[in-house]
């Protein structure tokens, strides 16, 4: 028996001897280093294989995932369009005329709506729509998930929408073109279509320059659809369009539009145009056309209303054409300023070709200056016959008539100057009165600006020709000697103080100008209508150093109220001139007088 109380171990262990386990069972365990190493290696290989397998799976998932998983992975990625912003159209002082912003589109999902009728009533009465329209729209496409109720929610409706909590009614952001000044300069700016491309006006003409390029971003989403991250490889930056600064001044444009509308409404006229130009640069500061329209709602007006008639439509200018021909004939030496011209005492004159011409009233013997001051048709025709057709034709072409001005405005036409071979024996006496020639309002203002600026014909532009502070070097063509232009201006000043332009005789500024009352040609039966006119007035100011030229052309005023150019258009031009010059800080006559008085007082002391 084995003594259990003995201090000796219950079992002994040697490297080669079997162990005696409690209970007397004997086992053999191999503890050799070679075996441990072997087991270790096997384990390492196993772990490595497992890790490599995992790594391979990761690589496969990342690169070529199987179809079943690929669809799931794809559904957790979203591609979003990053909208670039179309360039903003600004006035000369940086005030916004057209810009792009995000608006809200209201849509409905009929699938989520149980009762169309009650839903339509709630939305209709809550937001101010016709419930019948809403119900009909849903009934027409019940399976659609996206029926647009309003393409552009206004602020008031957005606020009201917050109080409505209706399933199936939601908003969607949409990029829209906005015209914050409303209908101001609408004809000039034009408008864009639903796809954001310019369709008319400067929006169309400068589309390439102001159009934006959209970007794209692809981001990883979590299970709830929230954006996790974007990989730089999946990010394409949007490019905004270039901003466009115009020579237009919104304040002067606003004055011009208000004055034009007032004159047209007062004389119940059909339409009209008004142009304000800086004669020293050719910059157009205002270009108004009546009836006006808001580019934001362009599809609500007829296409003819949207046309920029300042450049697209022509008319026979009538007497406002006389200063151009008068100055040209004076330069040619056909008449001396103080030469007496016999216009007869009856107001009727028969030309050398047998044509009968009338003056509004007989003038008798008047000077060449007075021919222009009193707008004598007879006086103009007498001197024109001395000059001859060729030189008259040449003068018209020199002033830019018969071809587009080069303003670059969309739809600009060149007017009509008949080639010499088509001139009849009446033409020599018709042209000096502004007949047998068709011009655009812009051509007329441009030519008159040449008289205002000392005889240089400039190209009109709606973009600023220079930045403040830089030197002015403008390409222009000299069409009159400086002294002839200056002299013509002084004679035109008398037209305002003594002639037909007296209703435009401002006390604040010295205007020089010319009235025109041209009968409209009867294109069907030939000849002219006896009761349909274009009543025009074109003027510059101040006479000693002109800052602005304003031309107003009103079509078909009601003859029973008034139809003379000086009556219909004269006051409108004066109003625009006074308010614009004051706005530009040009000193008035009163302020000049006050300054001169102070100077005299200072010198006398």
């Amino acid at each position: 028996m084995h003594d259990m109380s003995d201090d000796a171990p219950l079992y002994t262990e040697t490297n080669s001897q079997p162990l005696l386990r409690p209970g007397g069972v004997v086992t053999e365990v191999d503890r050799s280093p070679a075996r441990v190493l072997l087991v270790g290696r096997v384990m390492i290989i196993l772990v490595t294989v497992v890790l490599l397998a995992l790594l391979g799976r990761v690589v496969q998932l990342q690169t070529y995932p199987e179809e079943r998983l690929a669809s799931k992975l794809g559904s957790q990625q979203s591609t979003q369009r990053l909208s670039g912003r179309r360039g903003t159209i600004l006035d000369r002082n940086g005030r916004v005329l057209a810009t792009t912003r995000i608006a809200k589109k209201l849509f409905v999902d009929p699938v989520l709506i149980v009762d169309y009728s009650s839903f339509s009533e709630k939305v209709g009465y809550g937001l101010g729509y016709d419930p019948v329209d809403i119900e009909m729209a849903m009934a027409a496409r019940p399976k659609s998930r996206y029926i647009v109720l309003d393409r552009r929610l206004d602020d008031q409706r957005i606020e009201l929408l917050k109080t409505l909590d209706l399933p199936g009614l939601a908003t969607d952001p949409v990029m829209i073109r906005d015209y914050p000044q409303g209908q101001l300069a609408g004809h000039l700016i034009g408008f864009v279509g639903a796809d954001g491309k310019g369709l008319e006006g400067l929006e169309k003409f400068y589309n390439k320059r102001i159009a934006a390029t959209d970007g794209r971003v692809r981001y990883q989403r979590d299970a709830r659809g929230r954006a996790l991250w974007v990989n730089s490889r999946n990010y394409q930056k949007p490019a905004d369009g270039e901003n466009l600064r115009l020579s237009i001044d919104v304040v002067i444009q606003s004055i011009a539009e208000a004055s034009l509308a007032e004159a047209i409404e007062k004389y119940h006229a059909e339409s009209g145009q008004l142009v304000v130009m800086d004669p020293s640069t050719g910059e157009v500061l205002a270009m108004a056309s009546y009836p006006a329209f808001d580019p934001a709602t362009f599809n609500k007006v007829k296409p003819e209303v949207r046309r920029n008639r300042v450049v697209t439509d022509v008319f026979e200018p009538g007497s406002i054409f006389k200063p151009i021909i008068w100055a040209s004939m004076t330069q040619l030496g056909a008449a001396d300023p103080n030469e007496m011209i016999d216009t007869g005492t009856s107001g009727v004159h028969r030309t050398s070709k047998g044509r009968r011409l009338h003056d509004a009233r007989p003038h008798g013997r008047i000077t060449w200056d007075e021919v222009l001051i009193y707008s004598s048709n007879i006086g103009m025709s007498i001197v024109a016959e001395r000059v001859g057709a060729e030189k008259l034709h040449e003068a018209m072409l020199r002033f830019g008539f018969g071809k587009p001005t080069g303003s670059g405005l969309p739809g600009e036409v060149g007017g009509v100057v008949h080639p010499l071979k088509k001139w009849t024996h009446y033409s020599v006496t018709s042209v000096p009165m502004g007949q047998e020639v068709s011009v655009t309002p812009l051509q007329m203002v441009r030519a008159f600006s040449a008289i205002a600026n000392g005889g240089v014909l400039l190209t009109p532009t709606v973009t600023p020709v220079l930045d403040p502070g830089s030197e002015l070097t403008l390409p222009g063509v000299r069409v009159l000697d400086q002294r002839i232009a200056d002299y013509t201006r002084s004679v035109l000043r008398r037209q305002v103080t003594e002639g037909g332009g007296q209703k435009a005789n401002s006390k604040l500024y010295d205007l020089f100008g010319k009235t025109g009352t041209a009968q409209l040609p009867n294109l069907k039966q030939g000849g002219y209508y006896q009761d349909q006119y274009v009543s025009s007035f074109i003027a510059g100011a101040p006479v000693d150093s002109p800052r602005l030229v304003v031309g107003c052309f009103i079509h078909r005023p009601d003859k029973s109220i008034g139809h003379y150019g000086g009556t219909v258009s004269g006051p409108a031009v004066m109003r625009v001139m006074e308010q614009s010059l004051m706005y530009l800080g040009v000193p008035t006559n009163a302020s000049k007088d006050a300054r001169n008085s102070l100077r005299h007082m200072a010198m006398s002391r």
Partner: protein
């Protein structure tokens, strides 16, 4: 031998954890950048909206109507100062001593 293996294993785990941690940080940063980017986009669009509202409220007509609503009568204050300057350099408001009121009826009665 066992100690060497353990060391190698521990090192591998440490390196793996570091790499994993860096990757996680990178993803978090990318998420943050994405969030900021989206916020910037929203702010940019809100700025567009604000710009339009400012333009609407500061247009000549809107200002004129505001003056009428406020009961302010604006009249041209002509002084003897010569404002001068070119067309492009004048932006309205008060210019060289002359208070400019484009919509006030400047006609002499």
């Amino acid at each position: 031998m066992f100690a060497k293996l353990l060391t190698a294993l521990v090192l591998a785990v440490v390196v793996g954890a570091a790499v994993f941690s860096l990757r996680q940080q990178r993803l978090e940063l990318m998420h943050e950048i994405t969030g900021l980017h989206r916020q910037m986009n929203r702010d940019r669009q809100a700025t567009w909206d604000t710009q339009v509202r400012i333009a609407e409220r500061t247009g000549p007509r809107a200002l004129h109507e505001s003056l009428i609503r406020a009961g302010m009568v604006m009249e041209p204050a002509i002084t003897g100062n010569d404002a001068g300057g070119n067309t492009g350099g004048v932006s309205g408001g008060e210019t060289g001593g002359e208070t400019i009121t484009p919509f006030a009826d400047a006609r002499h009665e």
